[in-house]
Subunit: 117 residues, 2 copies
């Protein structure tokens, strides 16, 4: 579905045209919950489509915690198999850079309490 | 390229897969400059791709006026030729809902002063 890897100071979620938007939305919400921000990298229209659909779904997942997810797209030059490609990076975070409330209501209605700190 | 029509309380920019991202970015910047917000409606991955590229370009156009453009995607049920389709609407505005400075520096470096009011 979507591969997660640690970026310089944030998580980067790589989404493809075969990614399931609901699954990606769950991953987005999870990273937002723990890190406050997530960066999504896509190459191609199909992958971007799945990522934006996932964001629209993830907005609903985190809205109950007071998070208003917004997205900032930028271009990125990347190399895939030795070939230079232009990717789009979507920086996804709360509009006011707020961190989510640790008492998190999950997409299925269950309340998950983050007790890591 | 992109058709502009007045929505309930804002401008709606319809973008297709054949729209030129630079042209759409110019239109976006123009509407942001005058109305502070613009809604983009797309159907299909190709159209969304052009719209998101345009947004990445438009961010640069308005950054010099202190505007930090962000995007909020939502789903919308629309009807095209009697057939129900799911569109994606991108609500594009300044992160803090600020209105642009009327002294606007255009993409070509010229300063355009809005004297309409």
């Amino acid at each position: 579905m979507a591969a997660l890897q640690a970026g310089e100071d944030h998580e980067v979620l790589k989404v493809s045209s075969r990614s399931n938007p609901n699954s990606v939305a769950g991953a987005m919400a999870g990273v937002i919950r723990s890190a406050g921000t997530v960066e999504v990298q896509v190459v191609g229209a199909g992958a971007l489509n799945q990522a934006v659909k996932a964001l629209a779904i993830a907005r609903g997942y985190v809205a109950s915690t007071g998070i208003d997810l917004v997205c900032v797209p930028t271009f990125a030059d990347i190399e895939i198999d030795g070939e230079r490609r232009t990717a789009i990076r979507l920086c996804i975070e709360d509009r006011d850079h707020r961190m989510p409330d640790p008492a998190y209501v999950g997409p299925d209605g269950t309340v998950v309490i983050d007790v890591r700190d």
